[in-house]
Amino acid sequence: MSMIFGVPMAVLYGQLLIGVINGAFYALLSLGLAVIFGLLKIINFAHGAMYMLGAMGTVILFDTLGVNYWVALFLAPVLVGTVGVLIEYFLLRRIAGQDHIYSLLLTFGVALIMQGILTNIYGVSGLRYSMPDVFKGGVNLGFMFLPFYRAWVIVAALIVCFGTWFMIEKTKLGAYLRAGTEDSQLMQGFGINVPLLVSLTYGFGVMLAAFAGVLAAPIYSVTPVMGSHILIVVFAVVVIGGLGSIGGAIITGILMGVVEGLTKTFYPPASSAVIFLVMVVVLMVRPSGLFGKEA
């Protein structure tokens, strides 16, 4: 068996593939953050909580209404997106135009409230969610056993990421969105309901987080605090990619997944810290991130 740095090639390939899978996950999560910041200049510290709501929502919908996984993939994000719209309309709108820092603090507070209330109701040990039958099992690729579900995660995440990027950068709706948030006076003059667009954009960004949550439900512990740890990792990814860049968030997400995967292979204890190290280094060399637009 050939080795690189004491690690068998087969293991390395397996780790790289896992890295890409996790990267797709990070990409999906950072995409929502990038959309919200890039277009609305809101620093959404409630993103982790929205991800959690997507996952918890999936389980609760199943337990109370028997909603199956496929329906949940659409329903949970829509519900969480609605919550997002309400948050934007009732809370964030009041501090629009102020320093970005306030949006960070406000959404941080919102996340604390949600996590606290759900912990009281559901405890912290987590809720049970079975893997959908169609995905059970996997395929032996030779260098590793790949569960079907993980393959599905890459596919779903990449489809949604590409679709979002395309919509924002290449379609008329996306153009309205980008223009409306850059110069709302002008766009309102053209008859476009900018405030509505803003609410919907926030809702959409949050929907992306919730979608990631639904994907997570069968494979990660579904607890009210599952978003808390992943939040700062995702922020790190977005900052590395450059806060304004939507395409940058996707590419960086996948890249960071791979970097993390390699670290897990060669020096596992540092795999949580490595993303922060990369962030510090990147920001020193490229102040606005790898693909960022503003300095």
């Binding site: 899978i21 912990t119 040990s125 596992p268």
Partner: protein, 404 residues
């Protein structure tokens, strides 16, 4: 001669009465402080339900002991030793609290027992897992009651090696707790003729275990041991199920697994998991009867921590009743002199290092077919006798152990 004898006896008796502590209950109240994590990571282990268990014990005892009433005060320690330390200090210095119960996070427990030692009060530790609490951090002012990591790790490891799991791969959480468990397990495996063929350290906490499970699979070891706890353990087990680890023939050994973790996982994912527990709600009639009452009050089945809180409180109140005093040293001595055979423990006794040793149980998680209900999760495979389960006093670094 007889008069001299009588005089001497009276003199000695009076000297003992004056020299020893007064046999009385301070402030005519026995005040118990319940300190635990009510809102954070350890909430489900002890938390609000642990308070219920404490209240049940006090109520079952009659609410009074020797005519003095029993009061309970509660606080959330927020997993912060700062908060715990200042709360307990206030409790014992200002509020006449006699005993502190609950106590989960090791940093909280160690901080609390230091304060209790300074003020000569008593602590009954049920939540914490760290075996250092009766080792280098032992004090004459607390008793570690329900369990610790030593029997959990060694019971499981020893039993599995004996059953044929010779080669081991250890997944360790990269912090002090994980390291010490890895060390303990390695020692047990090697002592029983097994071999640790590999190990990997993962950050604490880790949300995604696929990478680590992959490497464990690649090692081809008979057994994959999880030297971690809480969400890390449940995530690792879920991922192992997803990657078909048990189907491919490897055994997963959870070293710190609680009923609440298995309940969160469900039998489908956790079936076949081997673990050690200090108590199980369905293990005998007495336990079941108490658990039914607990379920009525809280809506959930009790963990060994909840049961330990109930049992230790009853023992504590019994000791006060017998001695007529709530002085910590008198009560502790009485508890140490009293064997414990109740709903919670069999062959239980409290050693000089404050460790309550009792029979532990090797359990296996039932398959979905074997399980008849949401909480019907374990089958008890084997009993590990009290003398074998816990760290022997000869290996102890506790300052109270006189044989050093």
């Amino acid at each position: 001669m007889t008069i001299m004898k009588k005089l001497l006896t009276t003199a000695v008796a009076s000297a003992m009465m004056v020299g020893g502590a007064q046999a009385e209950i301070s402030n005519n109240t026995v005040k118990i402080g319940y300190l635990a994590d009510m809102s954070g990571t350890y909430r489900d282990l002890s938390g609000p339900n642990g308070l219920k268990a404490l209240e049940m014990a006090v109520a079952d005892f009659g609410g009074k002991v020797n005519g003095s009433k029993i009061e309970i005060v509660t606080a959330d320690d927020r997993n912060s030793p700062d908060v715990a330390s200042s709360t307990v200090r206030r409790w014992v210095e200002n509020d006449n609290v006699d005993m502190v119960a609950g106590l989960v996070a090791s940093s909280v427990t160690i901080a609390t027992t230091k304060v209790l030692e300074e003020n000569n009060k008593l602590g009954l530790v049920n939540g914490s897992a760290a075996s250092s609490i009766t080792n280098e951090h032992c004090t004459p002012n607390h008793i570690h009651y329900a369990y610790d990591t030593y029997p959990l790790a060694n019971g499981t490891a020893g039993a599995i090696v004996k059953e044929g799991g010779k080669t081991w791969y250890i997944l360790t959480a990269d912090y002090a707790f994980g390291h010490s468990m890895e060390k303990d397990v390695t020692a047990v495996v090697e002592k029983n003729g097994g071999e640790v063929i590999g190990s990997i350290r993962h950050p604490f906490p880790t949300p995604d275990f696929s990478s680590f499970i992959l490497q464990a699979q690649a090692s081809g070891a008979d057994v994959i041991a999880l030297a971690n706890a809480g969400a890390d353990t449940t995530n690792a087990i879920t991922t192992a199920a997803e990657f078909g680890v048990t189907q491919a023939g490897q055994t997963i050994a959870g070293l710190v697994v609680f009923l609440t973790d298995v309940h969160a996982l469900g039998t489908e994912v956790a079936q076949g998991l081997q673990l050690t527990t200090g108590w199980y709600w369905d293990m005998n009639d007495e336990a079941r009867a108490w658990s039914d009452r607990f379920m009525e009050e809280t809506g959930a089945r009790p963990t060994m921590v909840h049961a330990g809180i109930y049992s230790s409180t009853i023992q504590y109140l019994n000791a006060i009743e017998k001695t007529g005093s709530d002085d910590s040293q008198i009560v502790r001595k009485q508890m140490m002199d009293t064997p414990i055979n109740d709903m919670f423990a069999t062959n239980g006794r409290i050693r000089e290092d404050g460790r309550m040793v009792h029979d532990m149980y090797l359990a296996e998680v039932k398959t979905p077919e074997e399980s008849s209900g949401e909480w019907d999760l374990y089958k008890i495979v084997r009993t590990i006798p009290a003398d074998e389960a816990f760290r022997p006093l000869a290996d102890s670094s506790c300052k109270l152990v006189s044989s050093k």
